[in-house]
């Protein structure tokens, strides 16, 4: 399956590095990244392949959220199908 990771928060140095490192730790392969900064608010969306994760998906989700809390960011990991079903006919 493919998961969408969204990262929203105050722009600081190294956000992309930290999230990418988390993906590498868990064996999530990053396929695509897009990021913008809107009025100091950092907003990144990452698409990654999670079929060969080294831990259960739920653990990956929890770790991502924890990483967000530690860095004052909101990080969410959600299955790609949610977005496909909501925004495509």
């Amino acid at each position: 399956m493919r998961a969408v990771i969204t990262v929203i928060g105050k722009d600081t140095v190294g956000i992309l590095a930290k999230v990418s490192a988390l993906c590498a730790t868990y064996g999530a392969n990053i396929i695509d990244v897009t990021q913008t900064v809107m009025q100091d608010l950092f907003c990144m969306i990452m698409l990654c392949e999670t079929d060969s994760l080294s831990a259960p998906f739920s653990e990956f989700v929890d770790s991502a959220e924890k990483l967000g809390e530690e860095n004052h960011l909101k990080i969410h990991v959600m299955h790609e199908d949610l977005f496909n079903s909501m925004h495509r006919i």
Binding site: D32, C43, M78, S85
Partner: protein, 455 residues
């Protein structure tokens, strides 16, 4: 993002994080017809075995889906065959044992509610029906998770006025027996006309006899999302634009429900039943149907224009949702439970929203007089008459209507009942106390309207 538009992604995240978008309930319907036994203890044992076996994975699977998709699933519930049918074989024994068994099942599998302590008496009472109705107050007082409902009318059959009289007394008694617990018993009891057999919402959920042996039904929520979308629309936008926007939003909400329903039914190895595309409010700020109506341009819900706004909302939700799911069912529309909706609570407390206005609103929305606290000294006949009025609206308009009235024992207009959780809290509302006693005590059957003759 190459595959999905990043604006769409952020919109979904913000719907869930900031606007309370969630799946209100994943409800597993379980038929108990194969548990019928003249020996009530054996029957209860079979019921326990079947429910705990079929639903043992319901909660873990829902939690898994929550994690995978990042969508909160607020309640996990079970609905069963109306217990009056199962209990009918146990002649001369109180069906109360079934209620206690259901409670035990709810605890064993960890669901939030279990519905189906019900009887269908729209044309008359059959074996087991009267006994079940008479046992409802005690069943609700002695259990926490069990919900009861009675269908006493339909467009095809008319209204069973003997049941109407009986239910006025039953509602009162349910409140009296739980007077020390904010009269919570009555909050778990719904009286229906045209009850749907696949409704995933409580307290009125039961598993109809025409359904699969086990089935997954899903109820979505999302008033906050609709309100937020409308708040971005200009105040001078015509109502056509309002309706279009609600349709588009309802489509997205329902798609999420469809995804969860498909996923849950496949992981549980059961058939997918329906998505109920209702806008179900919660007492949380920003999750109110009343606030949607106010966003459309009303000073406060309950004022003139409320019925028209609600009609628009209800219709647009259905039109948007119907294409998003392969099977729509249940109640599908906008809910207006007073104590469960922050905007309704305010409107009722300030006196803008009255019982009479709510009755008018029920003619154009998906359910009926829902979660309304009434003075504790309201006679049973008056409660019966409110039920009759509401059922008549449903019968004539070929729609579901329901009453969930909570007589606030020992309290008067302006006092508050507080249930906590999704049931919320609200003021005791005024009720016209002129006596309908002679009418109610006539009994009999109110004939079905001409529109029942469609063949």
């Amino acid at each position: 993002m190459s595959i999905i538009n990043s604006r769409d992604i952020l919109e979904t995240v913000s719907m869930i994080q900031d606007e309370h978008l969630d799946i209100r309930t994943v409800t597993m319907g379980i038929s108990l017809l194969d548990c019928i036994d003249p020996d009530i203890d054996r029957a209860c044992e079979k019921v326990y075995q079947k429910i705990t076996e079929k639903a043992k994975n319901l909660v873990p699977v829902c939690e898994e889906i929550e994690k995978t998709y990042g969508i909160p699933i607020i309640n996990k519930r079970i609905s069963v065959t109306p217990i009056a049918m199962v209990a009918a074989a146990c002649r001369g024994q109180s069906p109360l044992k079934f209620a206690l068994t259901l409670e035990k099942c709810a605890a064993a599998v960890g669901v939030n509610f279990i519905g189906g302590y019900s009887a269908l008496v729209h044309k008359g009472f059959s074996a087991g029906d009267r006994e079940l109705i008479e046992s409802i107050p005690e069943a609700l007082a002695r259990t926490e998770h069990v919900c009861a409902s009675v269908n006493l009318g339909s467009t095809k059959a008319g209204l069973n006025m003997d049941a109407v009289r009986l239910m006025g007394e039953t509602v009162r008694r349910a409140a009296e027996l739980t007077a020390d617990r904010q009269c919570i018993g009555a909050a778990k009891l719904v009286v229906f006309c045209n009850a749907p057999e696949d409704n995933p919402f409580m307290a009125g959920a039961f598993h109809g006899v025409g359904e699969e042996d086990t089935v997954i039904n899903v109820g979505v929520s999302g008033p906050g999302v609709v309100r937020s979308a409308l708040s971005k629309l200009g105040k001078d936008a015509p109502v056509d634009a309002v309706a279009e926007l609600i349709k588009k939003t309802a489509f997205k909400i329902t798609r999420m429900g469809q995804l969860v329903a498909k996923e849950a039914s496949s992981r549980l190895g059961m058939k997918f039943g329906i998505v109920d595309l209702s806008l179900a409010p919660t007492p949380a700020v920003g999750d109110s149907v009343a606030h949607i109506l106010e966003e459309m341009g009303l000073e406060q819900c309950g004022g003139c224009g409320t019925t028209a706004c609600l009609a628009l909302l209800n219709d647009a939700v259905k039109k948007g949702g119907v294409m998003a799911s392969s099977h729509i069912g249940g109640l599908s529309g906008a809910f207006i439970p007073v104590t469960e909706d922050a905007g309704m609570i305010d409107a009722a407390a300030s006196g803008t929203l009255t019982l009479e206005k709510l009755e008018a609103m029920t003619a154009v929305c998906s359910v009926g007089l829902d979660m309304i606290n009434i003075p504790g000294d309201t006679p049973a006949e008056v409660i019966s008459a409110i039920i009759a009025d509401e059922a008549a609206i449903g019968m004539v308009n070929s729609k579901t209507t329901a009453c969930r009235l909570i007589p606030a024992i020992g309290k008067k207009v302006g006092d508050t009942l507080s249930f906590g959780g999704l049931l919320g809290e609200g003021p005791v509302m005024a009720v016209n106390q002129k006596s309908p006693a002679v009418f109610i005590h006539r009994g009999g059957r109110l004939p079905a309207p001409l529109q029942s003759l469609k063949n």
